[in-house]
Symmetry: C2
Subunit: 323 residues, 2 copies
């Protein structure tokens, strides 16, 4: 069934795709889908002028390439023909009303793929578009925006996508086939929530701590008290996930720690956001798991501590440094 | 007995005092003791030249005053006559070997007063000078060094001093009488360890969190998650203190929170240290309480979380911000 879907995709008219939130993740995966034959347009709040003129340069592991979107837009507009897919790679922030942003382009049959971090972030979009299929997706990859219209792709990775909240999806298989054609490994999951919790094990530990202490992954693991904290946070996430209905694989904590020890010293995406003065996804990555713990009656003192410090650091008018 | 001691102090030859570590705390209390008639010399690692020339200016609540020490020294030297008291106001840091620093001036009868933050910091000095009386003391006051040789005294406060590890002390009463004469309230405690734990309730919560989030006390209390964290940390300190043999007064957490809500927005001393690039007393204020919890078998997940993040932030070669 997967094979016939992939085959079908290559002979049907190319799918129309709109990428909204075209930072590093949106730009890179948009480029991959275009490489596989999709007609990909992009929307840019910042970098619009540069990308309209010059396209998006992707500096990858095997050299650079240029991605020229079919259309470069400054905001989501009503399309002549509604796109088959909208790939949303906006950050999950209180101040970003994703549903309102994408609404002009959402047609009756448009499938919305949310390629975003965190847990329990999809329901708002599902509520806003009750008749559209929602896919939820995760990118396991090292990508960063190094300049306007320029993305560095510094390690291979893979995608996991699946129907929200769960279940089989023809559309997910079609997208996965396109990604695979472009050289991006893409797993289709019928329980994408589980994948989100699995990714959160790493993110909830390393992202907040990296910001609070301005540290790379290697610096975190080299400090005994910090390394101990990482492990405790990961174990809390596993307990909360289980109580929320997602039993994570045995040994996931140890595997995450071992894999991180093998990585080059790495600045988390949240640390890069912080150092650049950009908003951090505190609620998607940390607040939502603390609230899930409360809801499920699971103690989460380590996560609560990180959340207390990080949500305070992320307060809108942080003035202490300037007083 | 107290009264006769105080009276005796005023007719005996004035006590000789050496203040070592003459930042805001050492400078201010040295000045107070000089005001009460003691002969006070001071040792300055930094600010030596300025203070030798101009003395120490104290900008207080009722105007400014000038303190001219009897002798201004750049390092502790062997004294012709060993001082009656050495007041140590050095920070408690791994890299500061207090015993070696003060050793040249410690005579057979010299009483050593450690006016420092944190808990379980005195034993090293007691071990180094087994025949000398050790007093331990705490300053509850708002003091800051605003420029070389200049101290701002922005709120009244009091001192608590007492014999280490516990018990009655004639010397403590003599010093207290001098402080009282100068207008500084000074309580003599025969269980100074209890006073240290009481002060730690506030310090272990507000100092680390203020640094991790660059926040004033008011900003901390205005953030629900941070405010919740402060309370949890305070309750952990109480449980650890009790297990370590120091039962803290009922309602101490609520009293600390209420008092802090009434304060003007305040930057903790640790935050001021951090913002100025000075070393922070992470081990005295946080590491020692986490180790006490381990030793006593008390769970301290909130303290451990703050300790993990803060000891990582305080690592010697913090490079993340510059990379």
């Amino acid at each position: 069934m997967n094979h016939s879907t992939a085959h079908q995709a290559s002979v049907s008219p190319p799918p129309q795709l709109l990428v909204v939130g075209t930072g590093a993740v949106g730009g890179y995966y948009g480029a991959q889908l275009a490489k596989a034959g999709a007609t990909v347009s992009t929307v840019h709040r910042s970098d619009y002028a540069v990308i309209r003129e010059r396209g998006i340069q992707i500096d990858g592991l095997q050299g650079s390439s240029l991605f020229r979107p079919a259309h470069v837009l400054q905001q989501v507009e009503i399309q002549e023909q509604a796109p088959d897919y909208i790939l949303v790679a906006l950050k999950v922030l209180e101040e970003i009303d994703t549903a309102s942003i994408i609404r002009p382009a959402v047609g009756k049959k448009t499938v919305i793929l949310l390629l975003q971090n965190g847990i329990e972030t999809e329901q708002r979009i599902a509520d806003a578009f009750p008749d559209n299929e929602i896919l939820s997706g995760l990118a396991f990859v090292c990508l960063s925006r190094t300049a306007p219209g320029r993305i560095a792709h510094s390690c291979y990775g893979h995608l996991a996508i699946g129907r929200y909240p769960r279940g089989e999806s023809q559309a997910a298989h079609q997208l996965a086939a396109l990604f695979e054609q472009s050289g991006t490994a893409c797993v289709v999951s019928d329980d994408i929530g589980l994948e989100r919790w699995k990714k959160l094990v790493w993110n909830a530990a390393f992202n907040p701590l990296s910001v609070l202490s301005r540290a790379t992954t290697a610096e975190i693991l080299a400090n005994p008290a910090a390394s101990h904290l990482v492990e405790q946070v990961m174990r809390e996430v596993c307990r909360i996930a289980e109580a929320a209905g997602y039993r994570l694989p045995d040994g996931i904590v140890e595997k995450n720690l071992a894999a991180t020890r093998k990585m080059k010293p790495y600045k988390t995406s949240m640390l890069l956001d912080y150092l650049s003065g950009r908003s951090m996804e505190v609620e998607a990555i940390l607040g939502n798991v603390v609230r899930a713990a409360d809801r499920c009656g699971i103690a989460a003192p380590h996560l609560q501590s990180l959340y207390g410090a990080l949500s305070l650091l992320a307060r809108p008018a942080s003035t202490a440094e300037n007083q």
